[in-house]
């Protein structure tokens, strides 16, 4: 059995070098040539500055923007590094709320948010994805229902006709892949960028 020690050490080191260095570094080099945009994180630039990633949701609070899903991400407390504070859409520390189906904290939060949204738009039923947190805390999408629900607020804040805003939502609604896979959705950042562009005109 002693003769198994040499391969245990040498094969481990060689296979580690192949799979842990050569493979990821080669893939990085190839990806950088073939898909440079995706490899860097699908970043969106405006006037030479990075304003986000097409795939990563960001926090929207103002009335004139469509809001994304709730985010349960956190960040270290600046005052005490052993604790964390709520930091929605923290793209350096992804995660969900992890509240279970019988959680009182979740039930209270849901009720509060539903009441708030009902006050904002009493004419439509509240879409479930507007009051639930996403798994990553960075969900870039909302459902078309959740976007349409917000149209009156956004149109009012921008003094735009609701019809025009609704049209933008429709234009930015992405269907299922091949009509089959995934869900129908709206990318919030792309929609808001389009809104800004339409307002500027």
């Amino acid at each position: 059995m002693l003769r198994e020690i040499r391969p245990a050490i040498i094969l481990l080191l060689l296979l580690t070098a192949i799979t842990g260095l050569a493979y990821p570094l080669a893939m990085t080099a190839i990806a950088d040539v073939i898909f440079p945009k995706q490899a860097q994180g699908s970043l969106i630039e405006k006037d030479g500055k990075v304003i986000g990633s097409a795939l990563i949701g960001q926090e929207f609070k103002e009335d004139k923007y469509f809001h994304g899903r709730l985010s349960a991400t956190s960040a270290p407390d600046p005052a005490d590094s052993t604790k964390t504070v709520s930091a929605p859409y923290n793209a350096a520390n992804s995660g969900g709320s992890n509240l279970g189906p019988t959680s009182k904290a979740l039930a209270d939060r849901l009720k509060e948010d539903v009441d708030k949204l009902k006050a904002e738009n009493p004419n439509a039923s509240v879409p479930v994805d507007l009051v639930t947190t996403s798994a990553s805390g960075l969900d870039p999408d909302i459902s078309p229902e959740a976007a349409l629900f917000q149209v009156p607020r956004v149109a009012n804040a921008r003094k735009m006709p609701e019809e025009r805003v609704r049209q933008l939502v429709t234009e930015h609604t992405q269907g299922r892949m091949a009509g089959l896979l995934g869900e129908v959705r709206v990318n919030v950042l792309a929609l808001n960028l389009a809104l800004d562009a339409a307002t500027a005109k």
Binding site: P7, A8, I10, L11, L12, L15, T16, I18, T19, L21, Y23, M27, I30, A31, I34, Q38, A39, Q40, G41, L43, V50, I51, G52, S53, A54, L55, I56, Q58, R69, A91, A92, S94, G95, G96, S97, N98, L99, G100, P101, T102, K104, L106, K111, V114, V126, P127, V128, T132, S134, A135, S136, S143, R176, L180, L181, G182, E183, R185, N192, D196
Partner: protein, 567 residues
Amino acid sequence: MTVIGWIQIFLYCAIVVALVKPLGWYMTRVFNGESTFLSPVLRPVERGLYWIGGVDEKREQHWLTYTVAMLLFHVGGFLVIYGLMRLQALLPFNPQDQSAVAPDLSFNTAISFITNTNWQNYGGESTLSYLVQMLGLTHQNFLSSATGIALAVALIRGFSRSSMRTIGNFWVDVTRCTLYVLLPICVVYTLFLVWQGMPQTLGAYVDATTLEGGKQTIAVGPVASQVAIKMLGTNGGGFFNANAAHPFENPTALSNFVQMLSIFVIGAAMTNVFGRMVGDQRQGWAILGVMGVLFLAGVAITYWAEANGTSTLTALGLSGGNMEGKEIRFGIVASSLFAVVTTAASCGAVNAMHDSFTALGGMIPLINMQLGEIIVGGVGAGLYGMLLFVVLAIFVAGLMVGRTPEYVGKKIEAREVKMAMLAILVLPLMYLGWTAVAVVFPPAVASMANAGPHGFTEVLYAFTSATGNNGSAFGGLTGNTMFYNLTLASSMFVGRFFMIVPAMAIAGSLAAKKSIPPSAGTLPTTGGLFVGLVVGVILIIGGLTFFPALALGPIVEHLAMNANNLF
């Protein structure tokens, strides 16, 4: 539940089944040492590795030597990961200046990766340097999964050989699996994932100024190369904390679909490798049939439970299912399917937060793991786990008719049955034992994120996942404490190696036996009767073992939810 949802589920199953034969054919060639279309390129590399490593590829090993070689390999793997994590602050490829990882967390993570568990007590983007992600985690993703496959092949040889002392050469099996199976698929797969939007860069995290003027630091890294092997090797350890729910770790519905396929494809094809090596492919299909029955039952329950939502959501008039902890691009169906797939296999990647699933929706992943992850299962591990249950089922059938049981030409005798029972009983000992300790130990109780029965389920899930080498979690539980780091590490270790050693002992003892031709009294092991028998044995043994624990967790929670009791 919707029609389009079920179409997605059946499309998924159809593609997995379609891939079983071609991949099974290819892998059988690889493990029989035959040449493949990649041999002109890879054979020189392979020979070079043996030459430097001092491996004589013609020399086969006794089962004990094979097992010792495997264990030595893992001691080395453990030291590499532990060392890299402790020293990461001093090493290159660390653009975020991550500091050294604490000893107990490093210990837990190192055990976690050598056992193919990939339990995430570490935070990914907030804890680890790129060097640790690549050299520590990506490499062990390859080697622990190659090891699992090698062990399964060794056990298959036990069945297929007659009167032999050896079961193959561990070094040859691991090297060939890595070079001919895992690496080539991963190269193509990585590029596909990058095309779908997954980052693959060594650059630092990006600072963005959001539309509203806020600052957002976006974590990136060499993600795609790690995710490819993480899924294919059923490892499951995320580059990011949110794992496959993170938009960078699973950007589109298509990437999600392919990731689910890649979790199952090798494990499913291993049943075909088994069939080919024992000389009757129908034996493999029968085993896949057992897996398929249990899998579809699980999918149906979880999908139904998640689509129904919770009483809290219904009371507020919110329809559309339980979207707490789920992503829009996956929705209810792809999140439910993923949860069942990842726990049926021992992957443990998640694209939705299992902690926020409904009580019954989250119970299926728990049951999948408690059954020993034999529904397709981890690469290799699923097959040898399933073969242990087959040995038991054959034994039970033999008792019923009063004959010495046989399986694919081998007599199943006392030694095999004892070893199979030992391997199967070790799992509940760990996850039930440690759960019992944790729920009466105040510091461990303090880690629960949810009160009431859901908190209990969080703890039970953690130890089940660790023992089953799955790695998914009810993520609310604060696992990064001294207690959980050490107890979970012990569960992962025992769950992996105390199953492997008896399985290898069976391999050795079977290989030494003569093959006997089937007679009129032999139970046919390719038909519906056999499939039903194995499913029955799995459910009875599983049910007797963990049903009481489930009653305290998800079942009571479901009843509480329907009675509108909140905690």
